[in-house]
Subunit: 706 residues, 2 copies
């Protein structure tokens, strides 16, 4: 019940039907004036309630002198008073039943120690008042649908399907200007999250997803308060609403994550690059792509599965560049049927290329209608999942003959009609798009995007295909996983390897054949029990790298077993820090296979994460590890395997055996489930785990508790 009320409060923040401005001012240079002015200018039609002890009137509105004098049940208070006053004002808002507040002031947690007491008072006030807040240290919020501008922009952005969440006020301006430059589809809610003292990304995307007016969410993110909660929310939200994210503080985060061993293999940035797409989030690397991709995903249907893209160009250069970029982006190209090609040939004549990429060549210059004709033909080919048109389409009247404008407009209208009938996603690149010809606007009004940059069009096509793939696989993957069952507390620090293997086995992970031994005699007995020669290793929570201290003997036969145990004991006795409670672990030798790495870590941002990659002593140098948030299904584990470089040799390469990938994937999946049942896990490395045609063999297991 409480959770439900909270959700309701946040939805009222996002679409307020009454706004109190606490710290309202009659001075035009003050934020307390600008917000009221902006609300009025934007055409906000609900009540605006200025609050200031001085009373009087501001911009024609009567000023309420204290919060207590406000009507009951105001949706949102915008608090523009300094940090020190905020906690007390929040308490007053709570008493008056105000649902939410936006706290503009800075000088809280982001300032470190000097503002720690203000931060503490804010948190106490949040808990006591029950008021939900966005901020502090936020530029505010705009709802274009109800025309509520609480940021104070020079003009209200156009209303449309893209919502924006950001931790940077300047990135709001970038997104607005970039939308203006592409004549984008407009905005629903735009919110600055500030310090996330209360409401964070996870809650906001869930709320935005419930809004029919939001069709995609563009995020500029500099960090999560709880990355794991965001992943869970994102996976739910992305099933119906695309999330596009630009991440900041990437180069710094790497430093933070280097605290853990895994951090030396890969910074947190590498983990984020895998776990966010795992949950359906579309990542962009460039600030200039955040808005275009979010606009495209908000307005464009998805390609059907088992289809590919067709490039329809009016020049060889753009056709070539499009295919090059699509190939780098791993977007599948459709192979056209003979029938399709014959029909295209009839329309385009002998000089055109009717292979994919299609180059209409000079067929089009005088006849813009050739373009919808091609689209109609292509839409009938079941291999075609998306058409990317590239070149100077829509600008023949600018480039060649002004009189072509009519034919171009009607071609655009025909394309809009074709798109509606076929449901086929269409993405347009035209190098003249920034001139905003009327026919491009016809396409935009029909729900399509026309980009000046071919690279945006390609990135957008890629995002559409990746989202379609994610949607088709995500739900089936998760249905196979059961993450309940017994739990185990990982001992603090390094565990002895036998302890590590016992814990894994208790949690359902098959660590293969191994025996513990306590002395030379039991080592001999253990070796005798296996059909092959064995590895004999020291088994101790005090030894982190066994071979560095002479603690490993390989290829040990029954005859050599006692001597091997004695050698190891001797090596450890002469070691700088002698090991007490010495034990041994004995495993059968694996004669040939590929050395791989399977592991897990507790990422400070995203929680339990599984790793897979190249193994062996050079694991850090190989830089060939991939990541997923635990748990992963065997299907997802297969995806992990396929995205590493070592995957290239797992199907048999030179003298290497073909590897049983299914066993490997099942192992990764079972480990990922086990990891969720571990309390106190810091890191788990199985390196190497040797894989060959008959199975997988964990050779060295290293478990560390926090």
């Amino acid at each position: 019940m409480d959770a439900l009320n909270k959700a309701t409060a946040v939805s009222r923040i996002l679409e307020p039907h009454s706004v109190a401005v606490i710290g309202a001012s009659a001075s035009p240079s003050k934020r307390g004036y600008q917000i009221i002015n902006a609300l009025q200018k934007a055409g906000y039609s609900y009540s605006i309630l200025p609050v200031n002890p001085k009373g009087g009137a501001i911009l024609g509105l009567t000023v309420v002198t204290e919060i207590d004098a406000l009507p009951e049940g105001v949706d949102i208070a915008v608090i523009v008073r300094p940090a020190e006053e905020v906690p007390d004002l929040l308490l007053q808002c709570g008493k008056k039943g105000i649902a939410g507040a936006i706290i503009v002031a800075h000088g809280f947690g982001e300032r470190g120690d000097q503002a720690a007491s203000t931060e503490k008072r804010l948190r106490d006030a949040l808990a006591e008042s029950g008021v939900r807040i966005i901020g502090p240290n936020t530029s505010g919020m705009v709802n274009c649908t109800v025309q509520a501008d609480l940021i104070g922009l020079p003009e209200l952005p156009p209303k449309g399907p893209v919502s924006v969440l950001t931790q940077s006020g300047n990135m709001i301006l970038t997104v607005l200007e970039d939308s203006r430059a592409i004549n984008g589809p407009g905005f629903d809610v735009i919110a600055g999250l500030g310090n996330q003292a209360d409401v964070g990304y996870d809650e906001l995307i869930e709320e935005l997803c419930l809004r029919k007016s939001t069709r995609s969410i563009a995020i500029y993110n500099e960090g999560f308060i709880d990355g794991r909660r965001f992943l869970n929310s994102a996976a739910r939200v992305a099933e119906s609403c695309p999330i596009v994210m630009l991440r900041g503080v990437r180069s710094h985060e790497g430093g933070k994550a280097a605290l853990s061993h895994t951090g030396s293999i890969a910074g947190a940035d590498d983990i984020a690059l895998r776990v966010l797409p795992q949950m359906g989030v579309t990542l962009v690397d460039r600030s200039d792509e955040l808005l275009p991709i979010a606009a495209l995903l908000a307005t464009t249907p998805l390609p059907k599965s088992q289809t590919g893209i067709v490039v329809l160009a009016d020049g060889g250069g753009h056709a070539t560049l499009a295919v090059d970029a699509l190939s780098r982006a791993c977007v599948p190209l459709a192979s056209l049927s003979g029938e399709t090609k014959a029909k295209l040939r009839k329309v385009l004549g002998e000089e055109a290329s009717v292979e994919n990429p299609i180059d209409v060549y000079s067929a089009l210059d005088a006849h813009p209608d050739v373009f919808p004709e091609c689209i109609e033909i292509l839409a009938a080919d079941p291999e075609v999942g998306l058409i990317l048109t590239s070149g100077m389409f829509g600008a023949y009247h600018l480039r060649f003959e002004a009189s072509l404008v009519t034919a171009e407009n009607s071609a655009a209208e025909r394309i809009v009609a074709l798109q509606k009938t076929s449901g086929l996603p269409l993405v347009f690149h035209s190098c003249y798009a920034s001139r905003m010809p009327e026919n491009h606007q016809i396409l935009r009004n029909g729900g399509m995007q026309v980009f000046t940059s071919l690279d945006w069009a390609v990135a957008g096509a890629r995002a559409l295909f990746e989202r379609a793939t994610w949607l088709s696989k995500h739900s089936s993957h998760n249905a196979t996983l059961a993450t309940g069952g017994p739990r185990v507390v990982v001992p603090n620090g390094l565990s002895a390897e036998t302890t590590a293997r016992e814990i894994l086995q208790k949690l359902g992970v098959d660590t293969g054949q191994w025996l513990a031994a306590v002395d030379a005699a039991s080592v001999e007995a253990a070796v005798s029990g296996f059909a092959t020669s064995c590895a004999v290793k020291v088994d101790s929570a005090a030894v982190s790298h066994k071979s560095d201290v002479g603690g490993v003997r390989l290829g040990v036969t029954r005859e050599a077993a006692r001597a091997a145990a004695a050698d190891i004991a001797g090596a450890l006795a002469s070691h700088a820090a002698p090991v007490t409670g010495l034990g041994f672990i004995v495993t059968p030798m694996v004669d040939r296979g590929v050395e791989l790495f399977v592991g897990a870590t507790n990422d400070p941002v995203f929680g339990p994460v599984v790793l897979f990659g190249s193994g062996g002593v050079l694991v850090e140098a190989a830089e060939d590890v991939t990541f997923r948030a635990a748990p992963v299904s065997p299907e997802e584990a297969l995806n992990m395997i396929e995205e590493t470089r070592v995957a290239k040799i797992l199907d048999g390469f030179r003298n290497f055996p073909r590897v049983d990938k299914l066993s490997l994937a099942n192992f990764i999946s079972s480990l990922s489930v086990a990891v969720l049942r571990m309390e106190n896990l810091a890191e788990l490395d199985i390196n190497p785990i040797i894989a060959n045609e008959s199975g997988i063999y964990p050779v060295d297991v290293r478990l560390v508790g926090k």
Copy 2:
């Protein structure tokens, strides 16, 4: 003398002071009309000479009825007649002393067999006439400086410092529109190369470089007729004129190069990505970055060596994104002196961040002059090599108060003056740049670029730093190389390893200790001659992979030497294709080290190329190889080493020895010089070459002639 005349002819093509239009037409829909019309509209002030057997007048000009009737010494003929007529017309042009021609017609080599005879006739006519041509199959050429539009654009592009070479007519439009969108500095020469039947990229960049009006060359390239010649030209040209290149047909080229063994390690794309920057070419991956980067390089001074970049932002988000992107692009950040920081603090107040990135925070909103003040302070710090300003600079009058426009304009004027005094490169990002505020235009008129996209600004800053580094190292590198000396013809097909080592030694490459042996007795004698145990291997031109056929024995002692030789002989005798003329090669074992790869190939595009990377049996799977056009200096070889992943373990890692990198670099350099002295080389693999603290040891040498 002949070469000089040719160069002159090309310079006359690029800046014609008389144009004959062969195939002139009175019909406005024909190219032969449009070119005359475009020349007149563009304001071309030299003579235009229409040629058509029908005679009469076109656009007020008297039509000459035959080429023979033209005046002597016309600079350029634009031939718009069909392919079949072109060879004969060229011969007539030659007789009349016309320097050059632009051939618009298609239907030559690009059409394959069906046009082969026309292509042959064209080549004969070129040889006979001595006329230099651009094309065929080209969209034409524009010289903005003399206002000669031979393409027929709707309007003459603005005159400025960027020249453009392209194999795509549409890419000309992209570049023109992208320039319009950023209000770029304008163009000198724009030329479509078409099929490059005569004049190619190499000659054109050399000619453009001689033009004072060209300050950078933007290229869209789909392939070279002679890649090696281009590399040589580029290295010369790039010393004074930046070359920015977008490459097309990248995904297809990979297929072609897979003919050679090296092609299976990496397609030609990977080679191009290394050898072009080696010669000073700035590569861009995105079509939307070609023009912005070329514009920036044409107008911006270079950072001094040993300096770094400073980000000066008015918002945390943009500051963060800029630093993230710069860090990914490996652009060095300047560390500011205490004095600089103290001065900044004084100007910016307590809330600003005066570390790099500088966030002026709210200090700027009402005082645009804070910006030039910061630039003045930063320019005095010798660590600062370039300032990248990011945010909404120049748009405070749009975002906040219209009255700020005056202060913003004078801030821009002050920045222009500061730039002129300091010579410091300044790069501007403003999310409002596409609104073209007046103060941005003041900066542009002062020779600076202002970009809407932060990503362009970062890519530009990177290009400036990389160019500065290249210029500082290029000439010193090459001075150390002597590439003359004896030459060797590589035998066809695979050489026996002893032959390969002899050839390398003859060319000055030290292949270490090895001995040839012909039978068991001489193997024993050879092993006895070394202080350590040895590797004994079959030595035969018939065995490509020695270990695959049982042709290798490792760790062979004197006692075991005869048996090893007998074993190898036995294994080969029982092999499917028995080896005749069996010999042995004996090398001392190298006990520990890192397995590396050094090799060479004859790239079909770029000629002799050296390779360095991770070695061992997994070389193809490791994907850790880099490339340079031979020869390379030891300094350049060190750069090669540092850009591989394996470099991370060469300074000592776990149990691996620290590697003598200087020996390694000297070896790569000596090999690269040797490769130039080899005739008939197909490929050379030294894999592995083992490196440790005492030196480098070529373990297996494989040489293949064409």
